[in-house]
């Protein structure tokens, strides 16, 4: 094994990692923004409002991310209407196709995480809001969302790490992310073990940063609980 290739190509790998980070960051931010309304619709008392996010989540959780990427990248360009629309400058770029597929995918998972967190808030805390005469909007703004944010953190950190690893699929539609860059280098140097080990190491390093970051936020956010775990109040 010859690790000098790793040293030589390390800057290229880092530029690939930078693309991966952009993919993950953009799709997690956009996906998170979409996830909240989806989660709120998901727990609506009205049946047909619930049905829409249910179908959406069912589709994006039930099909492989790779299929979703291909559908956006190869599928959209099949339609003249799409090619002639104002969205074509975006949809013809593999980078943005990946962002769209990742965003839709992660928003479905994140919506389920949000929904679970909102429903995990003890009913008594909601009743305490009702008896002081809060409106629904006040209830969400003052109690439900801040509480859900604390509950959501461990699962949400997990989703971001899954997204980081899922982002490797962007390499299948010509994007030179960390994996794509590694494959390009290997095609030139024939050193798969060295370069993939290096790429894996970089993924690990990013994961460690994400984990540490979330642990800090969790400690800060849930300091009122005394521990990292969610304590279930005594119902008596």
């Amino acid at each position: 094994m010859d690790f000098s290739v790793v040293v030589e190509y390390f800057p290229r790998l880092l530029s690939g990692a930078w693309v991966s980070l952009q993919l993950v960051f953009l799709s997690v931010v956009l996906g998170g923004a979409f996830a909240l309304p989806i989660a709120l619709a998901r727990i609506s008392p009205v049946a047909w409002i619930r049905a829409i996010p249910f179908t959406y989540i069912f589709f994006f959780r039930g099909t492989p991310l790779l299929v979703q990427i291909f559908l956006v990248y190869y599928g959209a360009s099949q339609f003249d209407a799409v090619r002639e629309s104002i969205f074509w400058p975006i949809l013809k770029e593999p980078f943005w196709c990946a962002i769209i597929a990742f965003t839709l995918n992660t928003s479905a998972y994140t919506a389920e995480i949000f929904r679970g967190a909102i429903q995990a808030i003890p009913e008594g805390e909601v009743e305490a809001c009702k008896v002081v005469g809060m409106s629904k909007a006040q209830m969400y703004r003052r109690v439900l969302l801040p509480r859900a944010f604390g509950i959501v953190l461990p699962a949400y950190g997990n989703e971001i790490i899954l997204m980081l690893k899922g982002s490797a699929l962007a390499s299948t539609i010509t994007i030179l992310d960390l994996t794509g860059m590694a494959r390009t280098i290997i095609a030139r140097t024939y050193t798969p073990i060295e370069i993939f080990l290096a790429a894996g190491g970089i993924y690990l390093a990013i994961s460690i940063v994400v984990i540490a970051l979330f642990r800090q936020i969790e400690l800060r956010q849930n300091r009122y609980l005394g521990t990292l775990s969610i304590k279930v109040p005594d119902k008596g």
Binding site: P122, G124, E125, E127, A128, K130, V131, V132, G133, M134, S135, Q138, R142, V143, P146, R147, G150, R223, Y224, L225, G226, K231, P233, D234, K235, G236
Partner: protein
């Protein structure tokens, strides 16, 4: 005593599935009344209390607050509020103290007490802060105002919950077994706070198992059994010479 009751409940029924928990309960509370509601578990006393401000929706009945009838319409299986604004306004004036305190754990003690008047009633912050500190002092917990609920004992949490209720300046306060979730040695501190409120002339409806307390502070005692009012009267009547056999049996088993 004013002519119009502060709170009047007429013929309240509540059914869960096939089980009729409340079979037509009526009650009037005038300003200054302290009404204790007694009964064995399953008698429907907590359900009745929760029907008053629609934490449970009654299946039948009328709720009047200061003579104003709460607008209810038939929902799928029970009566629901037809006018959310009227309901929230009524709730703002009726305090409710829970058995399990239900403080908001992500807020400090002080924030819990300030939340209602500040963000629901939109009162000025400085005024709310001073009043909240006064109330925390009154329930004997001022020095813990920057702590979180989970750092407090049950009795302390319940006293904070009472202060949170008082901060809204409610006309009527409903207490749903406020000491039942507490360790025996912590019951006294909460009852002490409630006793002071009764002496101030506050209007209170109290579901409780604390017989001695009920006897001392109540202006009226109501005994529920299987969803109906089995016996009611002054504490001396109900505790001294109950007419109902069931009430007698209940009292003899609890003393």
């Amino acid at each position: 005593m004013s002519k119009t009751p502060a709170l009047e409940l007429i013929n309240i029924h509540k059914t869960f599935g096939d089980v009729e928990v409340l079979k037509g309960i009526s009650m009037k509370a005038y300003d200054g009344d302290v009404i204790s509601i007694l009964g064995s578990s399953g008698s429907g006393k907590s359900t009745f209390l929760r029907c008053i401000n629609l934490l449970e929706n009654p299946t039948q009945g009328e709720i009047l607050f200061n003579g104003n009838k709460l607008d209810l319409i038939q929902g799928e299986s029970d009566l629901v509020a037809n006018n959310m604004k009227q309901l929230t306004q009524m709730r703002q004036q009726i305090g409710f103290v829970f058995q399990s305190f239900n403080l908001w754990p992500h807020m400090t003690i002080l924030q819990n007490v300030m939340e209602g008047p500040l963000n629901v009633l939109k009162r000025p912050k400085q005024e709310v802060l001073e009043y909240a500190e006064h109330l925390l002092h009154k329930v004997g917990i001022a020095e813990k105002k920057h702590m979180y609920p989970n750092q407090l004992s049950g009795g302390q949490q319940q006293r904070v919950a009472i202060a949170r209720t008082l901060a809204m300046d409610p006309q009527v306060i409903l207490f749903d077994e406020p000491t039942s979730a507490l360790d025996p040695e912590l019951v006294g501190e909460v009852l002490g706070v409630m006793r002071n409120l009764a002496e101030e002339g506050r209007t209170m409806l109290i579901v409780t198992h604390e017989m001695n307390f009920a006897r001392e502070v109540s202006s009226e005692v109501v005994f529920l059994h299987k969803g109906v009012v089995e016996e009611k009267g002054t504490p001396d009547q109900v505790f001294g010479s109950p007419k109902s056999e069931r009430c007698k049996a209940f009292l003899s088993s609890t003393f």
